[in-house]
């Protein structure tokens, strides 16, 4: 039953991935002007000799004189072999630029997700069980403000406070000496020491919305007949709340992997830019602003794919923990 369900979900992800790659490619080709002309112009600007033969080779490779759909298939064919095209701004293959940054982005998102869960679960349960208590009001207020503040604004304010009152710079993910150093245990430690500020900034609004969801769901479940049944059995109040209604209200938490995780990665774009983190965000922004579309397209494609994979994972997890879904 479960395997059939998983297989079906995976099959359904394939057309989605296809559609998403089409959209990403449409974005790549959307800016007016021919990619090669821009490329040649940049080369000329930087004083390089425009090598006609090379341009022809590129034209041939990417099929720029061909219709959209053929261009798309050439591009996606390359992507499937790990070739994302060339960044004309960096004069490097895109694939050399993106992977480390994507890895850092994913690390950051995972850390944020952990933080979010660790905060939201207990707070959500507390707020629902002690509805309208002082603690509930306190968390609700914080939550509302957390939801209402755009992440980048929160980051800016935090930076301002750090600089003006503590004289320290909170941007970046590494200390200076590790910035370009190869990966080592010490560098990992340095990352761990720096990552918590962006984690808090990114995690606050996600935590706020999860607390609200958890609270609302749990409030719905708390008065279900099965809770009365459990109470009539003689279970203690906390034990029965944790065993029954929380167990059922927790489903949305599992689905957070589906929406919060990709949202954290893509939402981090702006925060990462403000905090100048060496993640995918700032590079993607830069590429978008410079209309360096192969680089930007690669990021968009990867982020979209991550979203779909995230949804897939959360659907499967949901089916694992909730028998009703897999039997449907």
């Amino acid at each position: 039953m479960l395997l059939v369900y998983i297989a079906r979900r995976i099959l359904w992800a394939i057309p989605l991935l296809f559609a998403v790659s089409l959209i990403a490619f449409a974005l790549i080709t959307a800016p007016p002007g021919d990619y090669l002309t821009t490329f040649a112009a940049t080369l000329a600007q930087s004083g390089d000799v425009v090598d006609e033969a090379r341009l022809d080779a590129l034209r041939e490779r990417y099929g720029f004189d061909q219709p959209f759909i053929i261009q798309y298939f050439r591009w996606i064919g390359g992507v499937l072999q790990g070739d994302f095209g060339i960044s004309f701004e960096w004069q490097q293959p895109v694939s050399q630029l993106i992977w480390e940054r994507m890895a850092l982005s994913v690390t950051l998102a995972l850390a944020t997700l952990m933080f979010t869960w660790a905060m939201a679960l207990p707070i959500g349960i507390y707020s629902a069980v002690r509805k309208y208590s002082i603690g509930d009001y306190f968390f609700t207020t914080i939550g509302f403000i957390g939801l209402a503040t755009p992440n980048f604004l929160f980051a800016l304010v935090l930076m301002y406070v750090a600089v003006v009152h503590f004289g320290s710079d909170v941007s970046g993910l590494f200390s200076e000496q590790y910035q370009d150093a190869p990966w080592s245990l010490a560098k990992m430690g340095d990352l761990a020491a720096h990552i918590w500020i962006p984690v808090i900034i990114l995690g606050t609004s996600a935590t706020a919305s999860l607390v609200r969801i958890m609270r609302a769901n749990l409030l719905d479940e708390l008065h279900r007949p099965y809770v009365t049944t459990a109470r009539a059995k003689g279970l203690s109040e906390w034990r029965l709340i944790l065993k029954y209604p929380v167990r059922i209200a927790i489903n949305p938490f599992i689905s957070t992997i589906g929406w919060a995780f990709p949202q954290l990665i893509s939402g981090a774009v702006i925060t990462a830019f403000v905090l100048s983190l060496p993640t995918s965000g700032p590079l993607m922004l830069q590429a978008l602003l410079a209309q360096d579309m192969y680089l930007a397209g690669a990021f968009i494609l990867l982020l979209c794919c991550l979203s779909i994979v995230g949804m897939l994972v959360s659907d499967i997890l949901l089916a694992v923990i909730d028998p009703r879904i897999r039997f449907r």
């Binding site: 990403a24 974005l27 604004l153 930076m159 774009v269 602003l289």
Partner: protein
């Protein structure tokens, strides 16, 4: 009837709400929500500010002044004390003068207690055309002397008045939320309605499209689309393009709400009854189903506006959304992008405060509306 004599003696007082229509019941429920009421008032105020921005702003938001670069905020005083100790009502601010350190060339401002700048209500100031139609020059509050300036919220790096700019930003940011949501609503209503009403294959197809759009990460798509906009478009064209981009991604939630309600309602007995009463499809939908949906839709719409506002602000902040000369909160916040300018002029955060207030108020309002949207829910059990 026999039942009349059989009234439960414990029954609480009969409510006077027997004659109350849906909207009255919703209003009664909504009114009890203090936060939501506050939110409603704030939102109303913000839209009024947006509507009369030219009149309410003391100055032309684009007027620069080289002598007022990063001018700090001033306190407004309403009571003036003259030399003899007499009192009079005349609003004024204490002037500040710029000083430049001759060695470091850094500027700073010092209070000049002897110099007062007098303000006047409904005084003549920078001329403007209200809504592009009525040429006027009166402002709610401006300096008596048009050559003088005052800065309640400080000034930016070109000496422009942040208060006037924030007021003009209100117009753009609040309206982009409203227009964007209206576009999403049209899309959501049409697609969600079709999906919910026809069901079957049409529903399948639309649901798949919704699923696809939902699985797209919004921010990169927004960024990508905005980046793809031609750079040479006029500000107005850009404004509408950004609105369209925002709503293209945001309609799915509304479509889901509409479809969900539609499906739920379609199986309600009273809708079947309406069909059997001989009502046409149109009548069944608009006379019988719509009234049950409208309140829910209004609530969802209200909750969708803040998302739009934050999105616009973020895009503009990055330089991918609206660009000067349009003034929006996001455009204004772009000025606060680097740590040097904000540590020097923290009042550049003021538009950020406006964003937070607007979004909070809209969320409160939306939550209150959602809770009040179905005044019959406890009736069913």
């Amino acid at each position: 009837m026999t039942t009349k004599s059989e009234i439960d003696p414990r029954a609480l007082e009969q409510s006077p709400e027997d004659f109350a229509s849906q909207w009255r019941l919703i209003w009664l429920a909504f009114r009890r929500h203090k936060l939501a009421m506050t939110g409603a008032i704030i939102i109303l105020l913000l839209y009024v500010i947006g509507l009369f921005a030219e009149f309410l702003a003391p100055f032309d938001p684009n007027a620069t002044s080289s002598s007022d670069i990063f001018h700090p905020p001033q306190m407004i005083r309403f009571i003036d004390r003259d030399a003899e100790g007499g009192w009079s009502f005349s609003p004024h601010v204490i002037a500040m003068t710029m000083e430049r350190d001759s060695f470091t060339l850094e500027t700073s401002y010092a209070l000049d207690p002897d110099k007062k700048i007098y303000l006047d209500f409904f005084a003549k100031g920078d001329p403007y055309e209200l809504w592009g139609l009525f040429p006027m020059e009166r402002h709610l509050l401006t300096t008596e002397n048009p050559d003088e300036h005052f800065f309640l919220f400080g000034a930016d790096r070109l000496g422009r008045d942040m208060l006037s700019r924030t007021i003009f930003g209100t117009r753009v940011s609040m309206s982009i939320g409203l227009i964007g949501v209206s576009l999403s609503l049209v899309l959501g209503l049409i697609l969600g309605g079709i999906s919910g009403f026809y069901g079957g294959r049409v529903d399948m197809f639309i649901q798949r499209v919704v699923e696809l759009v939902i699985s797209l990460p919004t921010i990169p798509i927004w960024l990508g689309l905005s980046a793809a906009l031609p750079q040479d478009w006029s500000p107005l064209a850009r404004y509408f393009a950004i609105t369209v981009i925002l709503s293209l991604v945001a309609w799915t939630e509304l479509a889901r709400v509409v479809r969900g309600r539609f499906l739920a309602l379609r199986t309600e007995d009273f809708v079947t009854a309406a069909r059997l009463d001989g009502g046409s499809r149109k009548r069944v939908i608009f006379r019988h189903m719509m009234p049950s949906m409208v309140s829910h839709i209004i609530a969802s719409v209200t909750l969708a506006i803040p998302v739009m506002i934050i999105a616009e602000t973020s895009l503009s902040f990055l330089g991918l959304g609206l660009t000067p000369p349009i003034i929006s909160w996001g455009v204004l916040l772009k000025e606060a992008q680097n740590i040097r300018s904000i540590s020097e002029a923290p009042w550049l955060f003021v538009p950020g405060g406006a964003v937070v207030i607007a979004v909070l108020a809209l969320n409160f309002l939306g939550d209150g509306l959602r809770d009040a949207a179905d005044p019959y829910s406890q009736d069913n059990h």
